[in-house]
């Protein structure tokens, strides 16, 4: 073989680091870059299904809010804006620590990677803790839809239940995604401590990062819709 038409290096040889860290280019990919792009694309396709999934709930929220604007406005007085706002800030901070974890993986620092993953996990748990306190508040106030439901304004007794149902469905699904995310982060922490990642291969960190940011975006929309709108009425 002439020197000029040599096969590109990355398609035939895999760096020793890549072998050790499980980042070998699978035979159906030409390059590590292509393999990484395929993972990213796959993750985005999954996230698109998630957008559609939450889209259904945002859609029903839109319809009912349109049908009963006064009832929905009256419920926003019972939403704890402080807790919701603090939780928004907590999630934004956790997104920052998540990108910093990816950044640490890129520069090949295992210590920083683990530190930022643990911080992200802790912030996720703080979010869930505050969420628990909020749910407890709703429980004490009898604001859980069903036989035990009570509402100060009897005109909106039935319509307010729809809003509280949507509140629990949407924040509940969001919280479930946070719990799954916490499990994924724990897996990443274990993998990182076993030296599975390197600057050459850290795909799972990046993919779970995408998931974590997506869950953050859902909350960014839930917060104004459930807590802020109709607050002044």
């Amino acid at each position: 073989m002439a020197e000029g038409d040599a096969i590109p290096l990355e398609s035939v040889s895999i760096g020793p680091a890549a072998i050790v860290h499980g980042g070998a280019v699978r035979h159906h990919f030409d390059t590590a870059e292509q393999q990484f792009d395929s993972s990213t694309l796959g993750m985005w396709v999954f996230l698109v299904t998630e957008i559609m999934f939450f889209g259904g709930m945002f859609g029903s929220y839109t319809v009912y809010r349109n049908m009963y604007p006064d009832a929905f406005a009256s419920t926003s007085h019972f939403m704890n804006v402080t807790m919701g706002g603090v939780n928004t800030a907590v999630l934004i901070c956790s997104s920052l620590t998540m990108v910093l974890a990816v950044h640490s993986a890129q520069i090949g620092s295992k210590k920083l990677l683990i530190l930022f993953l643990v911080l992200t996990l802790c912030l996720g748990c703080v979010f869930l803790g505050i969420k628990y306190a909020e749910y407890h508040e709703k429980w004490v106030d009898h604001h859980i839809p069903g036989p035990g439901f009570r509402y100060a304004d009897s005109r909106y007794f039935h319509q307010a239940q729809i809003l509280f149902f949507l509140y629990f469905a949407m924040t509940g699904m969001h919280a479930l995604h946070m719990i799954v995310g916490a499990g994924l982060l724990t897996t990443l922490i274990v993998m990182a401590s076993r030296n599975r990642f390197s600057a050459a291969w850290y795909t799972p960190v990046e993919m779970i990062g995408l998931y974590w940011h997506f869950v953050d975006i859902v909350w960014i929309f839930l917060f104004p819709l459930l807590y802020l709108i109709g607050h002044t009425k």
């Binding site: 957008i51 940011h213 917060f223």
Partner: protein, 101 residues
């Protein structure tokens, strides 16, 4: 990897913007703006979401294929909301047949 490593200061800047926008949205919700409360809250949410997608999810450095998929997701979501709203908003605009009511 194709991506160049994004400097930490970019992430910190985006984070500060997100926190500032969160404070803004809470502050604006305390004002009496009528319909504009909703518009302001949603505009801020869209800006925040876009910042996360563009910088944190690194669509900024992603291939056009990934941008297409990400864009398609949000586009289809907007079809869902816009078509549902156009249905509910336009009900009763046209007189229906007698048996319809």
């Amino acid at each position: 990897m194709t991506h160049s490593i994004v400097p930490v200061r970019v992430y910190v800047a985006v984070w500060s913007a997100l926190i500032a926008l969160t404070i803004t949205t809470v502050a604006v919700s305390k004002l009496e703006l009528g319909e504009y409360n909703f518009i302001a809250a949603m505009t801020i949410a869209v800006i925040k979401g876009s910042l996360v997608v563009w910088f944190f999810m690194n669509v900024r450095q992603s291939s056009s294929m990934i941008r297409l998929f990400a864009g398609a997701g949000f586009f289809w979501m907007s079809i869902l909301i816009v078509f549902v709203l156009s249905d509910y908003f336009s009900r009763g605009w046209l007189p229906g047949p007698a048996w319809w009511k």
